[in-house]
Amino acid sequence: MTVTTQPSGPELADVHAIVEQVWSSFLGDEEPLLPRYADAAEEGTPAFPAEHVWSAAVSVHGGWTGTVTVELSSSVAQSLTRLMLAMEDEPLDDAEVADAVGELVNMIGGNIKSLMPGPSALTLPVVAAGRAAHSSELAEVARFDAMWNGEPVRISVHAPQS
């Protein structure tokens, strides 16, 4: 009998590198994405310091199974939407923000998928106004917290609990 176990998730350094590459390719280097590490006083988990949040997720199924989630403050979501759409002062609607946040998680998730065993398939993004919810069958296996323009950005990877 052969027993195979899936790798739990990507290395945090790889997630960091992918996020930075996606960010700089589409949002430029003028305002860098600054990693935000857990403060020892916070005992591990930094809070997500934003009241109004957008989140988006894609799932990978196949050689590796997991979910990649992006959470952004509303301010970051609106800024990245304006940059991607090359809009300045025109009003944005929620559909435009959802589209841009969805494309962001699609690029990050697609590149994380490429690090993991395949073949596998990527779902279309699911986007919501609010924090992300995860199935209780999934455990967080990697998380990258950062700040951009003084606002929080979180990328997390969840995989089935072994």
């Binding site: 939407t81 589209d99 699609n106 690029m107 697609g110 590149n111 998928k113």
Partner: protein, 134 residues
């Protein structure tokens, strides 16, 4: 009188409006006339209706009709054989890249990309002159 060069046309096929906007700015800067579609079937419909592109930039994962199916549909039509097909996608598995190229894609760009990466591919394909952005 000098005859002006014929404008080339690009069809941008991606379900993300933001990504279509980014690609449109790149190819418009290269003097392409552009049209956009949110999935493969919408692109086919526009082509049937008369927008005949020289270049299609094609995402893989889209609702209704994905990029791979779009390529196979285009390659069934001999009258569309001169259209250059370039995948622009997060799909980066070697098997998928080979599958798209075998189906008739000419080039493959993995997201994220820089504008220069798109221009370089178009130069290689002979659709823009070398150093056009220099």
């Amino acid at each position: 009188m000098t005859e002006s060069p014929m404008t080339q046309r690009a069809m941008i096929i991606d379900d993300s409006k933001a990504m279509r906007s980014i690609l449109r700015r790149i190819v418009s800067g290269l003097s392409f006339e552009t049209a956009e579609a949110a999935h493969g079937q919408e692109a086919l419909d526009q082509m049937e209706a008369g927008f005949m592109p020289d270049l299609c930039l094609i995402d893989w994962n889209m609702p209704v009709m994905d990029g791979y199916t779009f390529i196979t549909e285009v390659r069934k039509r001999p009258e569309w054989r001169n259209i250059t097909l370039m995948m622009v996608t997060t799909e980066s598995e070697q098997g998928q890249i080979v599958k798209a190229l075998a189906a008739g894609a000419h080039e493959y760009v993995i997201k994220p990309f820089t504008p220069d990466a798109i221009v370089e591919k178009l130069e290689l394909l002979g659709l823009v002159s070398k150093g056009v952005l220099a």
